[in-house]
C-alpha cells in the first residue's frame, strides 16, 4: 500500500475528500435530484389527492357522481395508508423487483427510486394538503359560495393559495426527510450519496472519516433547503405594510366618468 497515507483523523478528511470528490459530488447530485423531483411529484400527487378528498358530497348530486367520488376517496385512503404504513426501503424493493419479476418491466434503479420517492411522498403530501385545506376557515368558503362561486373556483382562487402558503413548512419537512431517506435507495443500488460513501469507505476501511464527510454534505444540503424555503415563505407573505392609495383617486374618477356618465 501507499506509504504516504495520512495517519490522523484531520489528515484523512482532506485526503478522502480530495480522492473521492467526483463520487461525492455525483452522489450528492443524485440525492438532491431524486429528493427534489420526488418531492415535487409527490406534491402534485398530494394536491390532487387532497383536493379530491375534500370535494363535498351534496345531497342533490346525481348518484353516479356520488358513487364515483366515494370509490375514488376510498381508493385514495388505501393508497395513503399503505404508503405511510410501510418502510420506504421495503417499497423500493417491492417496486424494483416486483416490476421486474411480475411485469417484466426492467426499470433502471434510478427510475425505480424516483417512482418510489414520488408515490411515498404523495401519500404524506395528500394528508398535508388535506390538512391545509381544512385549516382554512369555513367562513371564507361560505363567503365565496354566497357570491355564487363554484366549488372549483373557490378552491382555485381562495382556499388553495392560502392552504399552499400554510403547508410550505410541511413541504420543507418532506423535502428534508427525502434528502435523508433517499439513502435507503442504496438497497436497490441507486448511486446516491450514501452508496457513494459506502463505496468510498471500503477502499481504505476509513468508515468514520468517510461518513463524517457524508454527514456534513447531507447537513449542508438540508440547511440550504430550509433557508431557501424560509425565503420563499417571506416572499409569499408579501409586504407587511400597505400604502394608502390617495393618488389612485383621480385616475379612478376619470374611469368612472368614462364608463358611467358618457
Amino acid at each position: 500500500m501507499n506509504s504516504n497515507l495520512p495517519t490522523t483523523f484531520w489528515g484523512w478528511i482532506p485526503f478522502l475528500f480530495h480522492e473521492y470528490l467526483p463520487m461525492f459530488v455525483k452522489g450528492a447530485a443524485i440525492t438532491f435530484y431524486i429528493s427534489v423531483i420526488g418531492t415535487l411529484m409527490g406534491l402534485i400527487i398530494g394536491l390532487l389527492a387532497g383536493i379530491i378528498q375534500t370535494i363535498p358530497v351534496e345531497i342533490k348530486d346525481n348518484p353516479f357522481k356520488k358513487a364515483l367520488l366515494c370509490i375514488t376517496k376510498s381508493l385514495l385512503k388505501v393508497y395513503i395508508e399503505f404508503f405511510r404504513g410501510t418502510p420506504m426501503m421495503v417499497q423500493a424493493m417491492i417496486v424494483y423487483y416486483g416490476l421486474m419479476q411480475v411485469f417484466q418491466i426492467d426499470l433502471s434503479s434510478m427510475a425505480a427510486g424516483l417512482l418510489v420517492v414520488s408515490i411515498n411522498t404523495g401519500a404524506y403530501m395528500a394528508e398535508t394538503v388535506r390538512g391545509g385545506i381544512i385549516s382554512i376557515d369555513e367562513g371564507q368558503t361560505e363567503a365565496a359560495k354566497a357570491l355564487g362561486m363554484t366549488h372549483f373556483r373557490t378552491m382555485y382562487s381562495i382556499v388553495l393559495p392560502q392552504a399552499f402558503r400554510n403547508i410550505i413548512p410541511q413541504i420543507g419537512n418532506n423535502l428534508i426527510t427525502n434528502i435523508k431517506d433517499t439513502s435507503v435507495l442504496s438497497a436497490i443500488a441507486v448511486p446516491e450519496l450514501f452508496l457513494a460513501g459506502k463505496s468510498a469507505s471500503t477502499t481504505y476501511f476509513r468508515y468514520f472519516e468517510v461518513y463524517f464527510i457524508i454527514c456534513i454534505v447531507y447537513l449542508t444540503m438540508t440547511l440550504t433547503v430550509s433557508r431557501l424555503l424560509r425565503m420563499l415563505e417571506n416572499i409569499l407573505d408579501g409586504p407587511s405594510s400597505y400604502e394608502l392609495a390617495e393618488e389612485f383617486q383621480e385616475e379612478i374618477t376619470a374611469d368612472l366618468k368614462e364608463t358611467f356618465i358618457i
Binding site: 355564487g148 362561486m149 382562487s157 405594510s241 392609495a245 389612485f248 379612478i252
Partner: protein, 247 residues
C-alpha cells in the same frame, strides 16, 4: 302585484338531527324592503338567513326567487346567489387578497365581467363605504369595522337585488358599530332591499320597513317597526323588548 316580490318562502322547515330549528316559516320580501329579524339567541334568525341563500339546505319547504324555485340545479343556485349578497358576522374576507381584489373577484369570476369593469365597480362601492384609500391593504391589516365595510362593498360590487346581513355588528367593538350602521343606513335610504338579522334595536326601529320577531323557530310577530316597538301583541315580543327598552 307579484312583480315586486323578490323572494317568497313557503313552509320552510330546517332540522339539525332531531332539533327542529325552523318550524314552518312563511316569509316574503318585496323590492325596497328593509326587514330586520330580531329575537333571542337560538330562535333561528341566523338559520333562516342562511337558508335564504342555501348555505343551509332546508329540510323541507320551498324558496322562490321571482317565482322560480332556486333549489333545482347548481347552476341556477349560483346565479341566484350572485343576486343575493351576504354580509357575515365574522366578515369572512378572503385573506389571500387585497381589499380591491376582494371586491373584484366575484365580479370577474361570477358575473364574468372584465377586470377594468370589475375595478371600476369595486372602486365605486369601496368609495361608498369609505374604504377606497385602503385598496392595497390585506384584510388582516384592517380593523373590524373596516373589514365589515369592505365586506359590504364586496357584496355591493355584485350589484345584487338584495343583501342579507347576518349580525353584521355583533363581532365589533362598540365604537366601530357606528361606522358600519351608518353605511347600512345609507344603503337602506337608497332603496337597497335588505334583510338584517340584528341585535341593534335602535337600528331596527329607525331604519327598517318591517320587523320580524322570531321565537323558538317560528315567526312570532311581524309588522312595521312602530307597531312592533310601541304596541307588541305577542307576550314573548313584549318580554324580549322590555329588556331592550329598560336598558
Amino acid at each position: 302585484m307579484e312583480t315586486n316580490t323578490i323572494l317568497e318562502i313557503n313552509h320552510l322547515v330546517k332540522s339539525f338531527g332531531d332539533n327542529e330549528v325552523l318550524k314552518d316559516i312563511d316569509f316574503s320580501t318585496k323590492k325596497g324592503d328593509v326587514i330586520c329579524i330580531i329575537g333571542s339567541s337560538g330562535s333561528g334568525k341566523s338559520t333562516l338567513l342562511r337558508c335564504i341563500n342555501m348555505l343551509e339546505s332546508p329540510t323541507s319547504g320551498e324558496i322562490l326567487h321571482k317565482g322560480n324555485n332556486i333549489n333545482e340545479t347548481a347552476l341556477k343556485l349560483n346565479e341566484y346567489r350572485s343576486k343575493v349578497g351576504m354580509v357575515f358576522q365574522s366578515f369572512n374576507l378572503f385573506n389571500n387578497m387585497t381589499v380591491l381584489e376582494n371586491c373584484m373577484i366575484g365580479v370577474t369570476t361570477v358575473r364574468k365581467k372584465d377586470r377594468v369593469y370589475a375595478r371600476i365597480v369595486a372602486m365605486r362601492y369601496l368609495k361608498k363605504v369609505g374604504m377606497a384609500a385602503y385598496i392595497n391593504a390585506k384584510p388582516h391589516q384592517l380593523s373590524g369595522g373596516q373589514k365589515q365595510r369592505v365586506a359590504i362593498a364586496r357584496a355591493l360590487a355584485m350589484e345584487p337585488e338584495m343583501i342579507l346581513f347576518d349580525e353584521p355588528t355583533s363581532a365589533l367593538d362598540p365604537e366601530m358599530v357606528g361606522e358600519v350602521l351608518t353605511v347600512m343606513k345609507t344603503l337602506a335610504k337608497e332603496g337597497m332591499t335588505m334583510i338584517v338579522v340584528t341585535h341593534e334595536m335602535a337600528f331596527a326601529r329607525d331604519v327598517s320597513t318591517r320587523v320580524v320577531f322570531m321565537d323558538n323557530g317560528l315567526i312570532a310577530e311581524e309588522g312595521p317597526p312602530e307597531q312592533i316597538f310601541a304596541t307588541p301583541q305577542n307576550d314573548r315580543t313584549k318580554e324580549f323588548l322590555a329588556r331592550f327598552i329598560s336598558s
